[in-house]
């Protein structure tokens, strides 16, 4: 049976809307009905904008009737992670710290989506202030994974990934400081893109760590992520639509990092990754082993950059309203206040080294290929998980394979590569050359049909 229309991709829906065969009002109503039916259990949304979304959808339908189509996002319901400003709507960052705050203006990315014809359907739940990977430390209650509600959806953009999988919005906008777009995408089975650093403006977005923050899309396909990325970057999509034919997977050269990246993997994730590589090779891609000898030092470097940058932003509230944070987030922010300046500088020097190693690994390759998460979605609230018989901290596991590319600024995308026997999604991460997000997306689009069973 064909899935209901609100579970389809933008690439499928856009021609229907442009041709007047599907109204944005009907599509938006279907998403709102899904929120009404399922969000009490999943907790993906903090704010639902039912009335304004329907009103906007009606305006956009009238434009189509009058012969104006803004491009592929025209009339598409899209949600925003609730640390992105939308004029006149609360921005909570999933924290009581921001109680009563209403955004005075649209963030640039919000304004660009609006101009492109997106219907802004609501603000999604997240790990408080994006400072976590499981979306359970939030003032609005833990977000639940639609594939198994006892499991985390990953984070910090957990509500965004859940909204897409549950048919509550067709796509969503998230942020990624250590993996917060790619992690929930892998845990829930969506496509998540972290563009190259600096390409998409972060103004009007509550920061976590300013030198590591990225804004990007979560979507149902690589093509959808690509279309939204163009809009977020400020590029008109009408002229780029439809997207050019994808490049062939034949001859695509994928670097597979060994050592640190594959040392600690859940056995089901390892099996899915091996199968994805086998399918890609069968389709004509080449895989070559690459090494990044100093990658094992990533976590220590990341900690000494992200913690003090986050704590600096929060210093005022930590002094004036510490009780308004959830306990775990407050403690981690407090920890950052003790990082010495000399160690922050050391960590910045390390970034340059790591950047060079990733560049070298990509030399002669179209992209790097590795799992996004070394584990399937962990149980809600778990502090440790068993990996190959050894207990491992959940937070370290969730960040292990993604945070490096925030430190180096390379673009990276996560796409589904099948499920574990228990039905939990696994993500394949592709990493592209510095400043070449579109090259990465072309490679990902070429791989996509061969890694999704």
């Amino acid at each position: 049976m064909t899935a209901p229309l609100h579970f389809h991709t933008i690439a499928e829906l856009a021609p229907l809307i442009a041709g007047g065969h599907l109204s944005s009002v009907d599509l938006t109503r279907a998403c709102l009905a899904e929120i009404e039916a399922r969000d009490r259990a999943l907790n993906a949304f903090i704010t639902v904008l039912g009335a304004s979304a329907i009103a906007r959808a009606r305006e956009l339908d009238a434009e189509i009737a009058a012969g104006r189509c803004r491009g592929p996002l025209h009339g598409i319901p899209i949600s925003l992670k609730d640390l992105i400003d939308q004029q006149g709507v609360p921005t909570t960052a999933a924290s009581r710290v921001l109680d009563g705050h209403v955004a005075a203006n649209d963030a640039p990315v919000t304004a660009r989506l609006r101009e492109a014809g997106a219907v802004l359907i609501g603000k999604t739940n997240l790990h408080e202030f994006a400072f976590g990977t499981t979306s359970d430390d939030t003032a609005f209650g833990a977000v639940r994974n639609p594939h198994d509600p006892t499991r985390s959806p990953g984070g910090s953009s957990g509500g965004s990934a859940v909204a897409i999988v549950a048919g509550m919005s067709v796509a969503s906008i998230g942020t990624d400081t250590g993996g917060s777009i790619r992690i929930p995408s892998a845990a829930c089975g969506t496509v998540g893109l972290k563009p190259a650093w600096g390409e998409v403006p972060c103004d009007g977005v509550v920061p976590l760590s300013r030198s590591l923050d990225h804004v990007g899309p979560l979507a149902r396909s690589v093509a959808d992520a690509w279309l939204i990325y163009l809009v977020l970057r400020g590029q008109p999509t009408a002229a780029r639509w439809p997207l050019p034919a994808r490049r062939s997977v034949k001859g695509l050269r994928l670097g597979v990092p060994r050592g640190y990246f594959l040392d600690v993997l859940d056995q089901d994730v390892r099996a899915r990754f091996a199968m994805a590589l086998a399918w890609l090779r069968q389709a004509g891609a080449q895989t070559v082993d690459v090494v990044m000898p100093r990658a094992s030092g990533t976590a220590a470097v990341y900690l000494h950059v992200s913690l003090p940058e986050a704590s600096a932003y929060h210093a005022g509230w930590l002094a004036s309203a510490p009780e308004r944070y959830t306990r775990n987030v407050r403690l981690r922010l407090e920890m950052g206040r003790y990082v010495l300046a000399e160690d922050y500088v050391r960590a910045q020097a390390a970034r340059a080294v790591l950047q060079g190693e990733v560049d070298a690994a990509l030399d002669g390759c179209d992209a790097l290929a590795l799992p996004t998460l070394p584990i399937p979605a962990p149980p809600v609230g778990a502090a440790t998980v068993d990996v190959a018989g050894t207990p491992q901290p959940v937070r370290a596991m969730m960040l292990r394979l993604t945070q490096l590319f925030n430190l180096t600024g390379h673009p990276a995308v996560s796409m589904p590569m099948g499920d574990t026997p228990a039905g939990l999604p696994c993500g394949l991460q592709l990493v592209g050359r510095r400043h070449d997000t579109e090259g990465l997306l072309a490679a990902a689009a070429a791989c996509e049909p061969f890694v999704i069973p």
Partner: protein
């Protein structure tokens, strides 16, 4: 400052501020700092890139990318 001196001072400060739960996190941070300092990144960084070369963003898109 040695890591041991730093940790002693930081834990005392956490106690003084009524945040004893912070002490295990500070101990884990101390381990990470030991790893960072022991990795010799400073020297490697000087060889890898001139000062200030990190993080130059892509050509600016329309708007206010930082």
């Amino acid at each position: 400052m040695t890591i041991e001196d730093w940790l002693t001072g930081a834990c005392a400060d956490a106690d003084r501020r009524g945040l004893p739960d912070l002490k295990p996190l500070l101990a884990s941070l101390a381990e990470a700092t030991r790893s960072l300092r022991g990795a010799g990144w400073d020297a490697a960084g000087r060889e890898a890139a001139p000062p200030g070369s990190f993080g130059s963003p892509a050509p600016a898109s329309e708007g206010t990318a930082r």
